[in-house]
């Protein structure tokens, strides 16, 4: 058995009749960076609040290092929390903010001074320790909050959309900074976000939340390339989802007739049966285009005839909108150097069986 730092064992949360978290199970290993990803209202923040001790679970157990913590008040849980709005103490200086958790633990003044300095240096704010939070920029406040949550070396660091209020460039910088800290200090981090790009960038594993349940949990590669459900496929990255029916099932592949009439071959056939209704997820960047009608000559198995309805230059790529048979529409991402297809042109979109994923 692996060494679990945190275990949610059938945890539910009800507000009155409304179920926000539904009999949820999740194990988080020591030193792991796990993102809880989902739309707002999917229960991810509530789960984090229960872990921090700000909310009580209606049923189920929360275990930390093997001990049930349901009834442990938050100030005894030893978890560093970083809030979306930073929640710095507005009446204390930066230094006093960072010193706060150490004072609460009765650590000597000399050691507090030492550790506050180390923590602020770590986030490159050593020079600002006498400032008030209101005199700092958003990014600086964020780093103070981070230093404050790390300075007492908590067992777990919880982050609730900590980068949501920052602008794009700063956000990307902070993503890398936090990731570096995680690796350097060997922290266990639970990170709540609704930004799939952020989750993909930072996490060891991503738990995708929907309606109080986890739809899929896995590495960024797994959830992106092999979405287990329609929801995951659509929520993470952009995708073309086409409905169809399984025609034949072979040992290592299957043939699917799409609703538009095109027949495609997909890799893998586990769990599929002939006649079954399925969806095929096709990432836009995995599709390629050729001019004219498909003639199968020199092309892979899978080709779909379509007409170009729009083409937009987006700087790093070309985004092409296609209309297939039976009102199916596709999005294709092409390399920015590709020739721009004419609107109304007849094209063929093709892809290899390994590049699509069947969702039952």
């Amino acid at each position: 058995m692996a060494e679990f730092r945190i275990r949610f064992d059938g945890v539910s949360k009800y507000y009155g009749q409304q179920c926000v978290v539904d009999k949820l199970r999740l194990d988080i290993e020591k030193g792991e960076f796990v993102s809880l990803l989902g739309p707002s209202g999917s229960g991810k923040t509530t789960l984090l609040m229960m872990l921090a001790g700000f909310e009580t679970a209606t049923e189920g157990q929360i275990l930390v290092d093997g001990y049930r913590v349901n009834d442990v008040p938050s100030h005894k849980r030893d978890m560093g929390v970083v809030f979306q709005n930073y929640a710095l103490f507005p009446h204390m200086t930066v230094g006093a903010n960072v010193a706060f958790p150490l004072q609460m633990r009765g650590i000597s003044r000399a050691e507090i001074a030492n550790r506050v300095k180390t923590a602020l240096d770590m986030v490159q704010l050593g020079a600002l320790s006498e400032r008030k939070p209101s005199q700092l920029s958003g990014g600086q406040q964020q780093r103070v909050a981070l230093a404050r949550a790390l300075v007492f070396e908590p067992r777990v660091v919880l982050m609730d959309e900590p980068l949501g209020a920052l602008d794009k460039n700063l956000r990307e910088q902070m993503q890398l900074d936090i990731r570096a800290l995680h690796q350097r200090l060997g922290l266990t981090i639970v990170f709540v976000t609704h930004d799939q790009g952020e989750a993909l960038t930072m996490s060891d594993r991503i738990a995708v939340f929907n309606k109080g349940k986890i739809e899929q949990i896995g590495t960024p590669r797994q959830v992106y390339d092999e979405p287990a459900t329609r929801f995951v496929a659509e929520f993470i990255g952009e995708t073309n989802l086409i409905d169809g029916t399984v025609e034949t099932v072979e040992p290592a592949s299957a043939v699917i007739r799409l609703n538009g009439g095109d027949v495609v071959r997909v890799a893998g056939s586990g769990g599929l049966a002939a006649g079954q209704g399925v969806s095929v997820s096709l990432r836009p960047e995995r599709l390629s285009l050729t001019d004219g009608l498909s003639n199968n000559a020199g092309l892979p198995d899978n080709a779909i005839s379509a007409i170009v309805t729009d083409c937009v230059y987006q700087g790093d790529h070309l985004r092409v909108q296609l209309a297939g048979p039976a009102d199916a529409s596709y999005v294709v991402r092409l390399d920015r150097r590709s020739p721009e297809p004419q609107r109304g042109a007849q094209v063929t979109a093709f892809f290899s069986p390994e590049d699509c994923k069947v969702i039952a």
Binding site: P73, H75, L88, M92, P101, R105
Partner: protein, 261 residues
Amino acid sequence: MPAKTLQWLFGALMAAFLIVPLLVMMPLAFTSSLLLVYPIPSFSFRWFVELFTLPVWQRAIVNSLIIGFGTTALATVLGVLAALGLRRRLPMIGGVIRTLFMLPMVVPAVVLGIGMQILLARIGLANTHLAVIIAHTVVAVPFVIVSVSGSLAGIDRRVELAAASLGASPQRVFGKVTLPLAMPGILTGAVLAFATSLDEVVLTLFVAGPNQRTLARQMFSTIRDNISPAIAAAAFLFIFGTLLLAAVVLIVRRKKEVAAI
């Protein structure tokens, strides 16, 4: 543009209507005349001297201070506790209780005065300083609640959660985070309570005996019976006292901010 001119003329006249009455009082506090009229014959402190040496006024000032500070202490303690309690959503009755606490601001003072006089006599508190303090606290407490609730509402709940997650017990969260952040509102509430007590006349008429005459009560009867510039001097003390208190609050607030930088 004549319309524009008319607009500003109206504004200036209105501002004068609102402010001039407050200003005319001031110079008369320093008149040497026996009458409360302009022009002032010469500058004199005689009315302030009278205020501080004549036993009636002297006693009134002392009474106002005793009752004012008593009211401030009682109203602030009760009001701060209640505002803290009302902060958490009390199921169903929260709104009702808040309205109940606000009602003393609305109820006509004379009606409350009659009831107070009947009740305080019945429980043996009639004609005591405590009776006046109690009566003033009833009407001062809404100001404390409004002002403290306001500053409590301004505290981000997550700041307190953060303190808890950093290891602070509920008592320490209150002492190190909630209370310091609510302090401006508490101070403002205390000043408002003091000002309310200082200015109270009607309830005082009903519950105070001759030994509890306050400055306001003394001014009221002086205006009624024998108008003397002493009331201008008393009014000057009133305005000056209120300004002084407001300044103290401002300085305390500013100091906290400066200390932070």
